[in-house]
Each structure stands twice: as structure tokens, then as C-alpha cells.
Symmetry: C2
């Protein structure tokens, strides 16, 4: 009789075709949250796949798209929670896809489809791990729960209040985040926190219509100028954010954080090549200061500006309207609602009460204790499967509903999955590598097994 771990690993390998067939079925069902396309159908399909494995499921309506929850009993009384999302990014521009986005296609050892990496591959990876465990052991080793939302790609507006309201049903001892995978060196990677975000639109409208600049330029207020001046009060050329109190709640990294940052590989060469970066902000060079800046310093980024004439050549027009999209990435313990209030007060104090602020979405920053035993478990099992040390970042620059899980459920959050740097998430030709699907599934199975018994 083989070692159960080996048997599970082997089951995952020999059943790869069936897993990919199920993943293809899930990817063939469009579920574009931004466009409201196929949402209900996809939520039902995911629930059906869970029910087929003995899970009791619920589809919870929200003000937006429904949230699927599922629960299955297991041998021990410990509970492991998986967070995933069934929605995907819009597939456009369609002409850049080599195969249709909702016709999953295998080429060169990869499966191509919209959502295959983000996040449907992770859903099926977890189901495949559970299948292998059950096939070998006859039962799940612990209680398993899922929360699978349909709005991750449109900033999870309804998830945090749902998690708060359902904290008792979702109670767990640990959580695995929606994504995981390997870095450029094929090392498994994990992060122990996500920055928060406060996304606003600033807009100015001062005239009822555009006007000839020979007239308006001399006498009428200019929405574009007002917007430029208002933006100019938010941050100086040295990247210092000038909103009073903005940094008040920002916590510096701990000694333990700096220790972890020091371990991270240098990605600056890759960024220079991929994004054409010539020099980094503040003249930063590769090293701990740059790693610290990347995640532990809050930001204010202009994501877009629009006003007036934007075509070729010249048009002598003074625009009636101007607007900008701005995101603030927040670090613990900043709060998006507090930041919006400070922004509004600052603009008023600077004489820009004519600049409207619309709060388009916010998420609080969240963190996991790096010394929680579950984190070591995730890293140890990763090393066994990938035969390489796990890269562990204390926090990543991006944002997600991390805080809701960390704060309302008090769970440590680990990562395991099928991601790789070339997966083209959010872009045409999104893909996963089949070899990494196997490894991610084996890692997930080991986490479940080890967690249940430790």
C-alpha cells in the first residue's frame, strides 16, 4: 500500500484530463461581472460542482452578484476555508486572442481561456485536491468551507459586509486565498497581507457647454485648470501626499517585516524590461528600501484624466467638464472611508469645493501574522511539492477583500494555486500551465491533509 501522500499525488496526475475537462466546462460558461454576462448561470454551475462532491451549498443574493457558499463535513473538527471568485474580466479586445476566450483550448502544455487563471483554475484545483483525498482516504480530513463571490473583478463591493454578517457560518481555523502559484524563478510564493484601496473620481463641471477658447479663456472658469490645480494639491513632486492626516494611521513595517522583505528576490530588471522603466521613483535602487516602498508606503495614483479635445491636431475649445480617476493604496491601519473624508476636507480647505469627489470603491488593508503555524505549514508543504523554498512577502501592493477575512473571521490566510508570471490575467490569451495545475493541486491537497492532523 503506497503512502497516502504519494497516492494522492498520483491520483491528481492520473486524473488530470478529467480535471481539465471540468475546468474547460467552467471556463466555457462566461461570467463577466463588469458586463453582467452569464453571472447567474455560472454561480449555479459552481454550486452544482460542489453539490456533486457532497457539499451543501447556498446561493446568496446581494445588491450585486450572488455569493456561493458551501460546506462539507470531514474527519476532524477543524475547518479550512477557501476564498474564490467565479466572475472574470471582460474578454475584450477579442481580436488579440489566438483562440476564442470562452472556447477553452490546449496549446503547448497550456490551457487558454478567459478566467482560466483568474480564478476558475483555482476553483477546480481545490476541487481536484478534495477529489484525490476522498478517493484515497474515503472522506475529507476536516471540515471544508467555500466562499465564492461574483464581484472580485469589480472590487468586491458586497463581500465584506456579507462576511461580517455571516461570520458565524463562515467561521474557520484558516483560509486559503483565491490565488497562488510560482514566481519568475519557479519558486512557490505567498503573501501575508494586501494593501487597502480608496478609489475616487474627481470631477469639475463649470459651464453648460464647451466654449471657444478665444472667449472663454479670458473670462470663464476652466474645468481642466481647476482639476489640474486641485490634483496638484494632493501630492508633491517628491511623492509626498499633502492631504492633512493622510499618513496618521499608517503603520511602519515591523522588524519581522523588514526581515521578510530582505529575503525577497530583486524584480527590478524584469520591470525595466517589461514596462520600460528607466528609473524608479525617489531614485530608489534595488534593495530593502525599494522593497519597503513597494508595499509599506501608501500611494496616490492618477489612473486616468479626461477633458475637452483629445483628437489629433488642435481645437481651440475650453472644456465645460474635466475628471480624473485617482486611487490611494492604503497600508495598515488606514481606512478608505477616513481617507475620502480627509480628501474632501482638504479640497474644501484649499478652495476646491467646486471639485466633486465620488467614492467608487474601497477596501481596507489586511494582514496575517507571519509567525502563525498555518503559514509555516503552507510554506513547508510548498517546499515539498515544488522542491524550492517558498517566497513569502509580508504584504503585496495590490488590494482585495483580505481585511474582511482577516478581521471578521480572525483566520490566518495562506496561498496555494496555479498561477505563473505569464498567465496574462486580465489580458488576452489568459492561460495556465498544466504542469503547474498538477503542482498547485498537490500543494493544496497537502495543505488540507496536514492542516487536519496538525
Amino acid at each position: 500500500m503506497p503512502n497516502p501522500v504519494d497516492a494522492i499525488d498520483q491520483y491528481i496526475e492520473t486524473h488530470l484530463d478529467a480535471s481539465i475537462a471540468e475546468l474547460s466546462r467552467l471556463c466555457a460558461q462566461p461570467s463577466v461581472s463588469a458586463q453582467g454576462l452569464g453571472i447567474t448561470e455560472c454561480a449555479q454551475l459552481v454550486a452544482e460542482m460542489l453539490r456533486a462532491r457532497g457539499f451543501s451549498t447556498q446561493i446568496h443574493p446581494t445588491r450585486g452578484h450572488p455569493i456561493v457558499t458551501a460546506e462539507a463535513k470531514g474527519k476532524s473538527n477543524k475547518t479550512l476555508l477557501f476564498y474564490n471568485h467565479y466572475d472574470v474580466q471582460p474578454p475584450e479586445p477579442l481580436e488579440l486572442w489566438d483562440s476564442p476566450p470562452f472556447t477553452p483550448t490546449i496549446r503547448d502544455g497550456k490551457l487558454f481561456a478567459r478566467g482560466v487563471g483568474d480564478d476558475k483554475g483555482h476553483i477546480i484545483c481545490r476541487l481536484a485536491a478534495l477529489d484525490a483525498i476522498k478517493a484515497v482516504n474515503g472522506e475529507y480530513p476536516c471540515k471544508i468551507k467555500f466562499v465564492i463571490e461574483g464581484e472580485e473583478e469589480i472590487s468586491s463591493v458586497n463581500l465584506p459586509p456579507f462576511v461580517q454578517a455571516h461570520a458565524r457560518e463562515l467561521q474557520a481555523d484558516a483560509c486559503i486565498w483565491e490565488f497562488g502559484g510560482v514566481n519568475h524563478q519557479e519558486h512557490p510564493q505567498m503573501f501575508l497581507g494586501m494593501r487597502g484601496i480608496c478609489y475616487v473620481e474627481l470631477s469639475v463641471e463649470l459651464l453648460s457647454q464647451d466654449v471657444h477658447s478665444g472667449l472663454g479663456g479670458s473670462l470663464f472658469p476652466n474645468a481642466a485648470w481647476r482639476l489640474v490645480w486641485a490634483l496638484g494639491t494632493l501630492k508633491d513632486k517628491n511623492e509626498k501626499i499633502l492631504i492633512p492626516g493622510f499618513y496618521a494611521d499608517a503603520q511602519p513595517p515591523t522588524a519581522r517585516d523588514l526581515e521578510m522583505l530582505a529575503q525577497l528576490p530583486d524584480a527590478t530588471g524584469d520591470w525595466k524590461k517589461r514596462f520600460g522603466v528607466k528609473e524608479f521613483l525617489k531614485g530608489l535602487q534595488p534593495g530593502i528600501e525599494l522593497q519597503r516602498e513597494a508595499v509599506f508606503v501608501p500611494t496616490c495614483t492618477i489612473c486616468g484624466i479626461t477633458s475637452g479635445y483629445q483628437g489629433k491636431g488642435s481645437k481651440t475649445v475650453q472644456p465645460a467638464r474635466a475628471s480624473a480617476k485617482v486611487d490611494f493604496r492604503l497600508v495598515p491601519d488606514q481606512d478608505p472611508e477616513d481617507i475620502v473624508a480627509k480628501l474632501r476636507a482638504h479640497l474644501n480647505a484649499q478652495g476646491f469645493s467646486d471639485v466633486r469627489v465620488d467614492f467608487l470603491g474601497g477596501e481596507k488593508p489586511g494582514r496575517t501574522d507571519p509567525d502563525h503555524p498555518f503559514i509555516k505549514l503552507v510554506a513547508d508543504t510548498a517546499q515539498e511539492v515544488y522542491d524550492a523554498e517558498m517566497e513569502i512577502a509580508p504584504m503585496i501592493g495590490g488590494s482585495g477583500p483580505y481585511h474582511a477575512f482577516a478581521h471578521y473571521l480572525h483566520v490566518p490566510i495562506g496561498a496555494a494555486g496555479v498561477g505563473h508570471p505569464g498567465s496574462q490575467a486580465h489580458a488576452p490569451n489568459e492561460n495556465i500551465r498544466l504542469d503547474l495545475f498538477v503542482k498547485g493541486t498537490q500543494h493544496t491537497a497537502r495543505i488540507i491533509q496536514r492542516f487536519a492532523t496538525e
Copy 2:
């Protein structure tokens, strides 16, 4: 035998149908300079119309669209020059036209067509005045010249060097500008100068592609921020332009200018209604200070800004590129090329050598001596025809190739024509009023007659 002036007036009235038929023929020929549509055909048609009246004509190729010149002999040796343009604005958006833009249509005493007011109605008005004079007197009373360009709507790039190079052939004693007409009170109006313009595009490109704001916002330079900060150094919130030396050559209005400004009607009520202006820049109230600001103070106007995500909702992206269209309206003796050089030097001095400056077009400011006898002649004849005193502005806020005529040909420049405030120039449903076509033609005929003999 009737008084020749009455006979000419009467001829113009009784031959209105023929004039409108010829104007309709000219308007049915598209000539959209921005789109290069029908340009050659329209230049030929205009030349043909002039040749049919005994003019010798020439079609001069330029780097852009051809310029038509024409000359006819007359009784006296004095020469009157007409400046016009045969090109028109793009007709889009087509769905807002009540009749097709290139199918001239009469409704409610108006002729509707793209270009009918700007500037084809003025071309035919002048030809109709000449026809009436010749029918009554048997000959033109003086030498008549025309310069009719095909690039006025795309900032007359090739006209000033053409006028300079052909100053001898174009030599004249006075000039009538391409447009004229009545104000809101149905009073004839004239202006004695145009501001110059310096139109630039500022652009910044710092990355090879857009990047997720969770990464780029912390570490990579942001093109939109660089542009906002650079723009912020150009002008302060009190409308003061901060480019060193910007105001150095700006001449203040003379006592005579202020006298003319004091005579101008107050248009602030109309602007508030038409453009939804709530308050004017610098808190200006109706009066001489506002009139002065409107034309004698140079400006810096943002005409458009574009960068990054501009759609609905939020996208967490850091833009690789950002650009802005900016126009400076110049007063005598500012020079657009000097302003571009000062702008470039200023941006460099402020640390913005990464901001590219493209000079998209420039025109120098130009003026006519308000006490030139030709100006009195134009005003006196206007009063006779319109039975109202002519409104005379020392300068207008807009720009045109005025300087080329005033400076290279040393001619006083007057105005007469078919314009009215509701003519929708550059907009859908462009039109002229037939009653004002008659008056503008009668005024033009009187100018020619009086000029030849005074």
C-alpha cells in the same frame, strides 16, 4: 434715372435668388480642410466663379491646400483686397443636422449648409456686390483683388508665408476681412485686431505600457502626475501665467483702445445664459475691466487632457502616457515662436525636461489703426445700410492670419458681411439669414463705391 446707390441696392434685392442659387452651388461642393475632402474641386469652382466675372485667377499650390488669388481692373487705380477662405469645418455630428450639410436648404428665411456663413456666404456676398456695381455702372470702380485660402479652419499654416512672399502682387490700399455682420442688437459690428495664438501639445511617456497601479503607483514614474505637475507650473489659481518673460512683449491698451472698449455693449447676460457661467474669472463684473480682460490680456487655456482610463467606474491602472492641448492667446507684440521657446526653457528649468512640447500652430497678433480713414468709411456706410451705429471693437479674443495682412501688406482691415449671432458657425445647422445677406451685400457694394472715389 435713379441714384446709382439706390439702383445698386435694388439690383442686389431683385437678384437675390440668383445669388442664393450660386451660393447653394458653392455650398453643395464639400471642402473640409481637416479631412482633405473636396479641396481641389472647391478651389477650382471658386476660381471659375471669379473668372466668369472677368477676374484673372491663379491657383497656387502650397505645402497644404491651394490658395486662390484673383485680380480685376477698375476705373480708379486704388486697390481693395478681399480675404476669404473656401474651406469649411467638418460637418459631424451629422445626426444633429435638420437637413444634410451639403444639401443647401432654405427654411424660415434662412439658408442652411455647412460653410454657408463661414465663409462661403461671404465669398458670394462680395461677388454679388461686384455684379450689382457692374450692372449699374458698367465697370468696377477700382482694382479688386481676392486671396481665398483653403486652410483657415486648420489655422492657416501656409497663408502668412504666402502673403509675405507675394506682398507685391497682393499690394492694396485696404482690406475687407473674411467675416462681418451684426451683433445681438442687430447692429453692424467690426473689430480692429485679432489676438495671436500659440497652440501646443504637452506630452509625457514614461513607460512602454500601462501597469497595475498596485505595483507602478509605488515605484514607477506616472505620466499623468508629471503632466499635472508640469501644467501646474504654467499658471496659478489667480490666472497669472508663470512662464518667465511671458508678459514681456505684451502691450497694454492705449487710451484710444479703452475709449472703444467703453462703447461696447455688455454681453455678460448672454454668456451666463448660453454657457451657464456662474461667475467670471477674477470676480470681474460687467464693465471696462472685463472688456479689457477679454482681449488685451494674454491667456493660457487647457483645451484638452487625455491619460489612462476614462471609462465608467474604476480601473486600477497607471498610465504609460499623458498629454494636454494648451493654447496661449497672445496680444501685440507677443510672438508665438518666442512663447514656445520660453515655455520649453521654463519646463526645463522646473525639472520637466521629460515633458515633450509640440508646436501645433501659431499666429501673431495684429491690429489696425482705429483712426485710419478706411475704418470711418466702413462704419459710415454700415450706418447707412443698417440704420444703426456700427459697434467697433479694438480687438477680438479670437485669432486668425490678421497679422500677415496688417504687417506684410500694411493695409487697414475693415469688416462687412453676412454673419449673425445664431449662424451656428462650426456647429450643426450652420445658416445665414437671407435679409442679412442682402444688407451685407449692400454694405459691401457701398464700401467698394465709396473707397474708389474718396
